[in-house]
Symmetry: C2
Subunit: 193 residues, 2 copies
DNA sequence: ACCTGAACACCGTTCAAGT
DNA sequence: ACCTGAACACCGTTCAAGT
């Protein structure tokens, strides 16, 4: 008797697989997000998933994109100082990846591997170019911001996992993310002519 | 006929296992750094390793510490400006983790999980406190620097792996690391009274 | 105390066969 | 075209048994 097997109503599709994977991720975490578990949840064999994605990594790339797509849209007006806009976007991305267990790990890996998560980089690069950062440096600054956002989120989420395993790690102040972000924005500001 | 099985001369030990794992890591990478492969390399059963480490993660923590311990020692004199000292240390750490395939991934994971890599954080925190950064903010600044160092190195190494798999990712300028580091140091400088 | 040998409970991926 | 069912080639970890 399988634990949770839903009868299949609709045919499989990219979107249905990603939605199911996302729901499963939030319940069991990345290590238990197996192709078998996703198949069981959808009421199909694990091998059926390979008709829609070339391999597991391609599917995880789509999941990472969905996590980022669920980040709230910026509310700061376009006329606001670029510092405020950058800080808002980074805070939203931080919230988006920490909304799912191991979300930072997943998004960071997929972005580094070139299999997803390109949008935040493009958005931040554009925002910084509009702010007057030279086109040669804007991508570097955007990457540096994202390394911080994902790295910090990864740290927080690993801290949670480690704490659950009874491992001691350094405590993290709630203000820590904001302070780090201000360091970065000040540093980028110093590059302006 | 096993591929490479060395006859065992000395008894197993922490140090011998770590050294063997490090050699294997540099040849085959993290995904193929299995307990079986390490055992074969040492001429023992994989289960023998569990008499010296509680589990694979604990062993990988020791490997991460060894990678960091092999970073070159600072040559910049203690009297030099803190900016130069921070930049040198970060550049050395960057070199240390990129010296082994998947080194950044390994060190970042173990540090986040609290199973290794504590030394760089302690060193940078101290250095920044000596520079006049308030004790409340110095750890945050140190963490922000390390997120950048490891994040950037992780990116570069993933780029290599992806390229080998024929996946296209954005090109990276060699000056990119230095530019990002200067952004961070400028930002930390802005926190000084 | 240290290690062997075998097993357990899993993985991702492939592929002939069905519909 | 889409999916099943079974297999393949692996994993990390455990544990009785040997020395």
């Amino acid at each position: 008797m399988p634990p949770t097997r839903r009868t299949r109503q609709q045919p499989l599709s990219h979107g249905r697989i990603v939605a199911t994977a996302l729901g499963l991720l939030s319940r069991v975490g990345l290590p238990d997000l197996t192709m078998r578990a996703i198949g069981t949840e959808l009421g199909v064999q694990q091998s059926a998933l390979y008709h829609h994605f070339a391999n597991k990594q391609a599917m995880l790339g789509a999941v990472a994109d969905e996590i980022l797509a669920r980040a709230p849209r910026p509310s700061t007006p376009d006329e606001a100082p670029w510092q405020a806009r950058v800080q808002e976007r980074c805070t939203q991305l931080h919230a988006a990846v920490t909304a799912y267990p191991d979300g930072a790990d997943l998004v960071m890996s997929m972005w580094a591997f070139g299999m997803g998560g390109q949008t935040p980089f493009d958005e931040l690069s554009l925002l910084l170019r509009e702010a007057g950062i030279s086109p040669a440096v804007a991508p570097t600054a955007a990457r540096t911001l994202l390394h911080f956002v994902y790295g910090h989120a990864y740290d927080e989420q690993s801290h949670d996992v480690a704490a659950r395993s009874g491992i001691l790690t350094a405590e993290r102040e709630p203000s820590d993310f904001g302070t780090g972000l201000r360091i970065l924005v000040s540093g980028i500001e110093a590059l302006l002519p």
